[in-house]
């Protein structure tokens, strides 16, 4: 019997042990979340008649309402569907203050944000440039503008601002507006945020089911309802707004708006708007400075490659391939895929859903909210999707309750990969998830997510990705531009190469995310160059910026 040297034997045992470990524990997902609950229950007043609005709430906003550096959370909520009034405390909208260490305190009543109607979406923006983010709450036949007083309270200024007359009174042609969401965007680059409101469709209450299966009511297909145009309100700079929907060419485009993304897709210095419409063509409103031209067909984003109408829902309008041109990702129902449109840089888009692997990865999925964020800080934006069907009755193979999911961006090559259980989303039961908003709740440099679900408690998904790279967050403060810096384009260069992002609060479905602009830096501990193109036209350059910090950047005077 040959003698085996002791050292070799030990090495063999180690090899065996390592092999066992590899088999026992599969490789950790590059993106991983941990579930935290927050005591907000989304009350949609789902009735047997299944009135269309009951499946549409609710939006959520992440924003620092009190300026303490910690992102807070605001939820919209439903109401009595028959009266459209919040006639019970359960219907209150909620504001939760982030006290740190994972503690959120309900400060709704103090803040004065409980609301009155059947609310849908929310948009965050500092419309009066006073440094305190304000809220626009989009609702069913009634929307509200809340001014942030800077002392922890808000004031309903809907009437005072002049919005009430246009928003909350029935239109002679389109009836009462059903606003789903809105975007704060400076469309004329005057340094003031204007308000773009996304309207859905014409609806009236019914006590009896109009659609359904075997006598059981379910939500009617949107094709049976007439659409509504979106609206634009220019900020007069004195706390009031003027509706310019017709002059800006919006009123002639009747759609069924579900989501809006803001980006300057052709880099002409003006903010453009992409609107997903439910079961009709998408809209891309190209900003000409004094009006919009609708160019969805010309730019190739009107329809996904299957050539049929799909239920376009939440979206994000950001550069996901790091070429400097904002791309589009939006979500829809199962068998419709989550289309990805790549900006060609030549004023048009090319659908890349199939070639990126997103077609196969998403074909069976159903989503409402979406957001492009770099969850593992590897330098490439991933796509988070809040899962849930619009219908309330499950069919075989088509459950209405769904898990949330994240699609990991493979970078310059490879296919997008769907992560659900692997990413930890199995910790919550499937649900009809709706709005989602993004922010770093615990200040660890990893982007967290808050998600609503019909008839359920909201979910906070804390980002616990273990192999997360370095990061850099830029908190912009405009001086000549709007104070939020909405519309500012940012190029960031590290040793690994350039990447791009821009400031917008319009992300997802009916939701708003007012965090700093986030960059994942992967292995790079510093940004060699940061170039900020402010909406004013001013270009600001920063060099050699250390990673792993929230950097406040003030727009220079020239």
């Amino acid at each position: 019997m040959p003698l085996v040297p002791r050292r070799t034997a030990t090495a063999s045992l180690l090899v065996v042990a390592v092999a066992l470990l590899l088999h026992a524990a599969p490789a950790a997902s590059p993106i991983r979340f941990e579930l935290k609950r927050i005591p907000f229950h989304l009350e949609n007043d789902e009735t047997p008649a299944r009135n269309a609005p009951e499946t549409m709430p609710g939006g959520v906003a992440v924003f620092d309402y009190n300026g303490d550096g910690r992102p807070d959370i605001f939820f919209t909520n439903g109401a009595n569907i028959a009266t459209l009034k919040k006639d019970a405390p359960k219907y209150r909208n909620r504001l939760f203050r982030n006290d740190g260490n994972g503690v959120f305190t309900d400060v709704t009543d103090t803040a004065g944000l409980a609301g009155t109607g059947y609310d849908m979406g929310v948009a965050v923006g500092d419309y009066n440039n006073d440094g305190h983010p304000d809220l626009f709450v989009a609702g069913l036949h009634h929307s509200t503008l809340y001014h942030n007083n800077g002392d922890g309270t808000f004031t309903d200024v809907t009437v005072k601002s002049g919005l009430d007359a246009s928003l909350n009174r029935p239109d002679s042609e389109f009836g009462p507006y059903w606003a789903i969401t809105a975007a704060w965007v400076d469309v004329n680059n005057d340094g003031l945020l204007d308000l773009f409101v996304v309207n859905y469709m014409q609806w009236t209450y019914s006590a009896e089911p109009l659609c359904g299966f075997k006598g059981v009511g379910d939500y009617c297909h949107p094709k049976f309802y007439k659409g509504q145009p979106n609206q634009l309100f220019l900020n007069n700079g004195d706390g009031t707004f003027k509706e310019v929907s017709k002059e800006w060419g919006l009123r002639e485009h009747v759609g069924k708006g579900m989501g809006v993304g803001v980006a300057d897709y052709d880099l002409d210095g003006r903010q453009d708007l992409f609107v997903t419409n439910d079961s009709t063509y998408n809209s891309l409103f190209h900003n000409l400075g004094k009006k919009f031209e609708e160019v969805a067909f010309e730019t190739g984003v009107a329809l996904p490659e299957d050539g049929a109408f799909i239920s376009g829902m939440g979206l994000d309008f950001r550069d996901f391939n790091n070429d400097g041109y904002p791309d589009i990702a939006f979500v829809a129902l199962n068998n419709q895929t989550f289309p990805l449109f790549l900006n060609t840089g030549k004023g048009a888009f090319r659908e890349v859903t199939t070639e990126t692997g997103m077609h196969d990865a998403s074909l069976g999925d159903t989503g409402f909210g979406a957001g492009l964020y770099d969850f593992d800080n590897d330098g490439w934006k991933d796509l988070f999707v809040s899962g849930g069907h619009v219908q309330s009755i499950s069919m075989p193979g088509q459950p209405v309750d769904r898990y949330n999911m994240v699609f990991r961006n493979p970078g310059a090559s490879g296919k997008w990969v769907a992560l659900t259980e692997e990413a930890g989303f199995g910790a919550a039961t499937p649900a009809r998830h709706r709005g989602c908003a993004f922010g770093d709740f615990d200040g660890d440099g990893r982007v967290d997510v808050v998600v609503t679900a019909l008839g359920q408690d909201a979910e906070i998904w804390m980002n616990r990705s273990e192999q997360s790279g370095h990061w850099l967050d830029l908190a912009l403060r405009g001086t000549k531009s709007n104070r939020d810096g909405i519309g500012a384009r940012i190029k960031l260069v590290t040793k690994s190469g350039p990447q791009y992002n821009h400031m917008t609060t319009s992300v997802g479905y009916a939701s708003s995310s007012d965090g700093p602009v986030h960059f994942g830096l992967g292995p790079d501990k510093r940004a060699d160059l940061i170039e900020i193109h402010w909406p004013s036209g001013i270009v600001q350059t920063l060099k050699d910026v250390p990673a792993d910090q929230v950097l406040s950047v003030v727009e220079p005077s020239h």
Binding site: F224, Y225, F297, G307, A308, P396, G397
Partner: protein
């Protein structure tokens, strides 16, 4: 040799037998299921006594039993004039026509019997079924409706009554009757009929339940895999629809529906070459079919062959100007083909067609 001798002696004995003996021998053979001997004996009786009505009747029954319906019918008919009570033989005659598949003549005989025995529900069932088989569902309804209430526990009646309702267009009324029959059997045929009807009614979930049960009971039913595949596809279970369509095509490569659906599934999965093969086959089988042409056009569009896709969609739009889907894609295609004016026109058409849908409103479709 011994066997040959024995057969020879039996033949001699038959030759020597009297007509009565032969008749008796025929009856015994018939009772023991030896129909060829019975037929031989009855024929010998008739050779000797050509007007023996009883022998004719028994011969007719034996011939019908072995499927020689034409001769059975002729034999019954030759017996009828001599009979005082014609009804039993009329029933046999009608059944012979029915089993032969000659439902027009079967109807004629069942009608005579129905007039003679109006309370006999068996006759009503057979006449009603014959009505259905000759494409006269309204006649079946007229016949069966007065009997429906008191025969609701008779599953034969329920099957024909439910089928009559379905074929006369009262499909939602008919399905519960057929499902009752299906469950009481259980009957694969009834499950198949109920499931196929529900599929037509777009009640996909229940259709799928019935068709899956039909498949479980009898996988040899005609078109069962295609129907099950369709129900699975319509309920969103594409994953399980695919193997059903593949099985259907294994049994019949020229199954149009299976080719079309499988092609569409594979196209959706972007398995373009395989999808094209199935869609091309579907188009070969039914070149005028709108869905096959539409799916084929979509495949061409996604493959980048915009010109060919547009041409195909233009033809579809021409054939059916109010079909929305071809216009939806044509509008986008025209912009890709740098024909914005045509695209704008198509958008107007889409707006008009969607406005018509909206005018109807929910709950009115």
């Amino acid at each position: 040799m011994a066997v040959l001798l024995a057969l020879f002696s039996i033949a001699l004995a038959a030759q020597d037998a009297t007509p009565d003996q032969l008749f008796q021998s025929g009856i015994e053979a018939q009772q023991h299921g030896d129909f060829s001997t019975a037929i031989r004996d009855y024929r010998k009786v008739l050779e000797q006594r050509p007007d023996d009505v009883q022998a004719k009747v028994n011969l007719g029954a034996a011939l019908a039993h072995v499927g020689q319906f034409d001769e059975a019918i002729a034999t019954y008919r030759s017996a009828l004039p001599s009979l005082k009570d014609k009804n039993p033989v009329l029933l046999n005659l009608a059944l012979a026509y029915y089993k032969k598949g000659d439902f027009e003549n079967a109807r004629e005989q069942f009608e005579i019997l129905r007039d003679a025995r109006p309370s006999d529900v068996r006759i009503a069932i057979l006449l009603g079924d014959s009505d259905l088989r000759v494409g006269k569902p309204d006649a079946a309804i007229q016949l069966l409706e007065p009997l429906a209430a008191r025969n609701s526990q008779n599953m034969d009646f329920e099957y024909v009554w439910g089928s009559a309702l379905i074929k006369s267009g009262r499909r939602r009324e008919g399905v519960p009757h057929i499902e009752k029959v299906a469950q009481s059997g259980p009957s694969a045929d009834a499950y198949l009929l109920a499931g196929a009807t529900l599929l037509d009614l777009n009640e996909f979930e229940q259709a799928r339940k019935d068709l899956e049960e039909a498949l479980r009971l009898n996988s040899s039913l005609p078109d069962i895999y295609t129907l099950v595949g369709t129900a699975r596809d319509k309920t969103g279970d594409v994953q399980n629809a695919e193997p059903a369509f593949r099985e259907a095509l294994k049994r019949n490569p020229d199954d149009f529906e299976a080719n079309l659906y499988l092609g569409a599934i594979l196209y959706k999965r972007r398995e373009m070459d395989s999808a094209k093969a199935y869609l091309d086959r579907a188009l070969q089988l039914k070149p005028a079919d709108s869905m096959a042409r539409y799916e084929s056009a979509m495949l061409k569009s996604t493959s980048g062959d915009y010109q060919a896709a547009a041409q195909q969609l233009e033809q579809l739009a021409k054939d059916d100007p109010n079909w929305l889907e071809p216009h939806v894609e044509l509008a986008a295609l025209y912009y890709r083909l740098h024909r914005p004016e045509d695209g704008a026109k198509e958008r107007q058409t889409v707006d008009r067609l969607t406005a018509e849908q909206q005018t109807k409103g929910p709950g009115k479709n």
